[in-house]
Amino acid sequence: MIDVKGLKKSFGEIEVLKGIDEHIDKGEKVVIVGPSGSGKSTFLRCLNLMEKPTEGVITFDGRDITSLKDKEIDRVRMRMGMVFQHFNLFPHLTIRKNITLAPVKLKLMSQDEADAKAEELLKRVGLPDKAEEYPSRLSGGQKQRIAIARALAMNPEVMLFDEPTSALDPEMVGEVLELMKQLAADGMTMVVVTHEMGFAREVASRVLFMAEGYVMEQNEPEKFFAEPKNQRLKDFLSKVL
């Protein structure tokens, strides 16, 4: 579904991604872990072109998306949901509007259809009574669940999660992870950058370890945690587990 070849990304002089080759299949749940500054967020953000790759090719559904025009990039992004560390809900809009804005403005749904979809999604994320609230009235965990609902409203084929629980108070991490597990069980293709090793172990079909701009090691979760080969990964795991 997503194919990455020779992906490099530099910010000015600093090369953050130094050559990544990766393939993500439909239905896979890829969890990316690694120390901060390893380029894992940048990698994720390259997948929906929030960052423009400096070099390399990303193919989505057989189509090279790195050389697309702005308009076509927008079309690709409609098919990829993204969830941010800091939620980025729109503070001037109600929860309902947060969820329905994009599908309505992009003419994918009428306001009525989008409202119905929002209602269904709010039930799914366990916040059916919050439609008319503003984001500031919600807790961090609730905000992130709404952010997930907002992304789902576009009926995406892939969901990208950029450290979705890193900005949450510890007691709210669980509710967000629970929702993500549900999503995974429903068959969504997911790419998740996270520090939640428990989530990786339980949900991932594959875990990638990134450091210094490379994917240093990857494996199915059991082997990944039980038999790490790379020395950097061993050090990393000994610190986080």
Binding site: N48, M50, D70, K71, D74, R75, R77, M78, M80, G81, M82, F84, H86, N88, L89, F90, P91, H92, L101, A102, K105, L106, Y134, P135, S136, R137, A147, R150, A151, M154
Partner: protein, 229 residues
């Protein structure tokens, strides 16, 4: 001469109060239209500037806008007014009030532009990214997500800019417009008593400014009361 006689002389005789009333009307007309023009120009310039800063597009327009901002903010208002009247519109027969509206509007636009640009840039970039990640294009993201939030932040500053402009128009007399200030000055030159006419002019400005300032204060309180961030 007592106060009452002086009052009569300055305002009642020969209907001199009309200088003030007509002047006030002129001042308000110039201010109102200049504010509108300034807002329009300011928003356009701010959008060009922030589009350039965010995307690197509109390079040439951005350069033009920067020249505009530098020139307007780097030269005195009175000089701009004189140039507009005697140089730019020097060879055409045109209403002085119109010239003043152009000059003050173009001047105000530069300040509005920087206020609005500041507001746009103050909206967290995550808001912009969230919009784009959903597939909204640049224009839609600015229109539905960034601008409403920026506008809310800068509304009080914009209102203050309008108040400043009201006072700035007092130099309209330089191109012989009979605005409020000029009206008071005409009375002074006829009666040779400076105190009452000039103080009255000052008081009228002060009342208007205090009234508008209290409106801005109320606006600010309302904005912060339902601040939903």
């Amino acid at each position: 001469m007592g106060f009452i006689d002086s009052f009569k002389q300055n305002f009642i005789e020969q209907d001199r109060w009309k200088y003030l009333l007509d002047g006030l009307k002129t001042t308000l007309v110039i201010t109102a239209f200049a504010v509108l023009l300034g807002m329009l120009l300011g928003f356009l310039v701010a959008i060009v500037r922030s589009t350039y800063l965010k995307t690197g597009k509109l390079r040439i327009l951005n350069a033009l806008c920067r020249v505009y901002l530098t020139v307007i903010r780097g030269t005195p208002m009175v000089v701009q007014l004189l140039i507009t009247y005697f140089v730019i519109f020097g060879s055409v027969n045109i209403s002085k009030t119109f010239v003043a509206i152009m000059a003050f509007g173009i001047n105000s636009g530069a300040y509005v532009a920087e206020i609005v640009r500041g507001g746009i840039m103050s909206v967290d970039n995550g808001q912009f990214e969230a919009g784009r990640s959903l597939g909204l294009n640049y224009r839609q993201t600015m229109l539905y997500i960034v601008m409403p939030q920026a506008l809310k932040t800068v509304l009080p500053s914009l209102a203050n800019e309008a108040i400043v402009l009201l006072k700035e128009t007092s130099v309209a007399g330089y191109i012989a417009i009979a605005d409020l200030t000029k009206g008071g000055d005409i009375i002074r030159s006829q009666t040779f008593s400076p105190f009452l006419p000039l103080i009255s002019v000052a008081v009228i400005y002060l009342i208007m400014v205090m009234f508008l300032t209290s409106l801005v204060g109320r606006l600010e309180r309302r904005l912060s009361a339902n601040d939903r961030r």
